[in-house]
Amino acid sequence: MTTAKSTVDDIGARVAEVVRSLAARAALTRAQAYRLRLAADEIATNIVLHGYGGEGEVGLCGGVAEDHVWLRTEDSAPPFDPRDHDPSPVLTADPATRAPGGLGVHLALAAVDELRYEQVAGLNHTTLVVYRDA
C-alpha cells in the first residue's frame, strides 16, 4: 500500500485539477480560475509544509453555487487561521534584502473574494470563494 500522503511536490497538481474542473463547470474566466488556483495552492502548500511539516492528508472539496465557486481544504494539522496572519512586515521590507517567504498567505487573501476558516470536528476547514460575476 502506498502512503499517498500529499507532499509539497504533488499538492499543487491536485489543487490545479480540482480548480480546472470547477472552472469548466462554472465557466470561470481565465483570471478567476487563476486566482482560485493561486489561493488554493498557497493554502494547501502551507498546510503540507507548515501544518504537517512535510507531508500529510489534505481533503479537497469544491462546488459551484449560483453566484460563486468554492474550494475547501480539510486537514488535521494544528489549528491555523490564515486571516490572523499579518504580512505587513514582509511587504514593507526591501525585497532585495528581506527574508525569503512570508508571501503565500498574503497572496491567498488577496486572490480570492472570501476566505473562511472554521474548525469542524477537530479539523481545519479553510474555504476559498471566488464570485462568478467577473
Binding site: 499543487g12 497538481a13 493561486l38 525585497p95 503565500g104 498574503h106 497572496l107
Partner: protein, 106 residues
C-alpha cells in the same frame, strides 16, 4: 505542472527563459539555474517570462534568492510577464526592486 528554465550568459548579461509553471515543485530547479548563472558574475539578470503561465509564492522566493545571490548592484529585469503573473509580482511588492518590461521593450 511542467517547468523549464533555459539560461545563457553573454557580455555580462544572464538571460533565463522560464516556461510553464513556477511553483513549490519547480522552485528548486529554478534556484539551481540561478546559482549556475550567478557563478559567472553577471551584472544584469534578464528573466523572459512570456511563456511562464503560473507563478506562486514559492517562485517569488526564488526571486529573493536571485537578488541575494547576485548582490545589490545587479539589475534584475522581468520581460513580458503575462497579466496574472505581473499582478502577483505587483501584489507582493517585487515591482519595486526589479525592472518590469513589455516584451517589445526588451
Amino acid at each position: 505542472m511542467s517547468f523549464a528554465a533555459k539560461s545563457h550568459v553573454w557580455d555580462g548579461t544572464a538571460t533565463i527563459r522560464l516556461t510553464g509553471e513556477l511553483a513549490a515543485k519547480s522552485a528548486g530547479q529554478f534556484n539551481r539555474v540561478i546559482a549556475d548563472v550567478s557563478a559567472q558574475d553577471p551584472h544584469r539578470l534578464v528573466l523572459l517570462l512570456d511563456e511562464l503561465t503560473y507563478l506562486s509564492s514559492a517562485g517569488l522566493r526564488s526571486l529573493v534568492y536571485a537578488h541575494q545571490r547576485l548582490g545589490r548592484g545587479v539589475e534584475i529585469v522581468l520581460v513580458g510577464a503575462q497579466p496574472e503573473v505581473a499582478e502577483t509580482i505587483r501584489l507582493t511588492g517585487f515591482d519595486r526592486s526589479v525592472v518590469m518590461q513589455e516584451p517589445t521593450g526588451a
